[in-house]
Amino acid sequence: MIYDTLNLLFQFLDSFAFIVLATVGLAVIFGMMGIINLAHGEFILVGAYGTTLSYGAGLPLALAMGVGVLATTVFGLVLERTVMRRLYHRPLDSMVATWGLSLVTVQLARIGFGNTLSQVGTPLGSISYGAFSYSAYRVVLAGIAVAVLVSLYWLFMYTEFGTQARATMEDEPTARSMGVDTGRIYLGTFGLGSALAGLTGALYAPTITMTPELGASFLVEAFVTVVVGGSSVLVGTSLAGGFLGVVNATFTNLAGTFIGQVAMLLAAILAIRLLPEGITGLIDSWRAKRAEGGQ
């Protein structure tokens, strides 16, 4: 019984970590800048390839992951300067552009590195309990997911960059007239989103097969979570990650990975049907009602 509970707990931590890490980069770019980045999966690809290739070249894993994150950040910053900054406030155009970018990146990866790379082994060994064992690395990933959410919350709520970024997203001209270099804020936010996607790629590089299409396996979770989460980026991602993680873990535990995925997507469809503004939209309307009731 206790082992079953542990199994379910580990399964939940695993789903939660995957959902949150797959989403954060997209959530920052979409939530703060309104850009639907269809190349999000390829940002993750750059992070994963950067990590795997530099590990293959002889770097220790932690350093190789740093290289993966750095490569993705630079990739993102260059794109922002050359392509994305022309497409702010043009959601449809930016979707087409990022989609094209995604196709190009996948094919370039195939041309440059072939159909697969030799894999980094999963580090840290495993935790054994009774007849079961679980990868310790996957538990660490859950810890990292929580740490990433907490640091992002701190960054956006309590630092000067965070305040200026929120002000810029809310009302760009007024922020500019208060002395904020909004171009730099956009660049910084896009760079941050890219770095987060790169981190996801770096962290999952030891656990997934290195193919040029690996980004696609993150894309569904990422978009579903952003939509279910709603307008308030970080709180939405955390809550939606928790909710979808529970559904995914429960059904995976009962009936296997495939049914777990089906159940999660069904739950997402229901959630979007019932809460068109997402989970944070529901919270906002509760708050508004309570405020009205208080007066």
Partner: protein
């Protein structure tokens, strides 16, 4: 402090400013009066740099800022208070004020003075700006620009959408503040009581041009210019 010469500006391709000349000396409080559609807000947006002029020059503090982006002008010492109290609604009062810190780079942040002029802002520090009343939001917009101790305060119709009793109180506070901190003020307005209370001299604006300069602000003359 501020000198505008032959300024032309347009929205899309509709010309709005058709050759504006005006100047403001250090320490002065100058009003630009005119009816709706005269181009007052466009003038303010051009001065702070949110609208690129078609031609003409804007000199601020002895240097040509015509081609400077708006954030550089703000850091150079212009404190802009947008029309319709454009505060950041989802930021708290304190966070809104903190946004004003980047105005006039290197200047000291004056929270104490701002809280003294507008005690309500200190009381409501933690509250989201969007949940405050119109008058309080206008005070916040003024406070936000004052925090960075600007050299020149640009006020775009401070009375718009604010209760008359608060309008009077606010005009008085702004006048007092300008005197105490030696801040130059340029404001545009069509509300007679604000013009009476605040302006030392004014320009009359009509159809995108300055048509008259009033060295002294006399109630009757101003009223005639604003009458429909």
């Amino acid at each position: 402090m501020l000198a505008i010469e032959d300024l032309h500006a347009s929205y899309d391709s509709t010309p709005v400013l058709r050759g504006v000349d005006l100047s403001v000396d250090e320490g002065e409080i100058v009003g630009v009066i005119g009816k709706n559609g005269a181009g007052k807000t466009t003038l303010m947006k051009s001065v702070i740099g949110l609208l690129e002029p078609d031609s003409g020059t804007i000199q601020f503090d002895g240097r040509d800022v015509t081609d400077e982006p708006s954030d550089a002008r703000a850091r150079g010492g212009m404190g802009y208070i947008p029309q319709r109290r454009d505060v950041f609604p989802s930021l708290t009062v304190e966070e809104n004020l903190r946004m004003g810190e980047s105005i006039n780079e290197g200047g000291e942040a004056r929270y104490d003075a701002v809280y003294e002029y507008f005690p309500i802002l200190e009381e409501r520090r933690e509250q989201k700006a969007g949940t405050m009343s119109g008058g309080q939001q206008q005070m916040l917009a003024v406070g936000r620009a004052l925090v960075g101790s600007p050299d020149l305060l640009l006020l775009d119709e401070p009375s718009e959408g604010v209760q008359p009793s608060i309008v009077a109180e606010m005009s008085e506070t702004i006048g007092q503040m300008s005197e105490e901190t030696e801040t130059t003020v340029l404001f545009v307005e069509q509300n007679l009581s604000v013009i009476d209370a605040l302006a030392e001299r004014c320009y009359v604006m009509e159809k995108g041009r300055i048509v008259e300069e009033l060295a002294a602000v006399e109630h009757e003359t101003v009223a005639t210019h604003l009458a429909v």
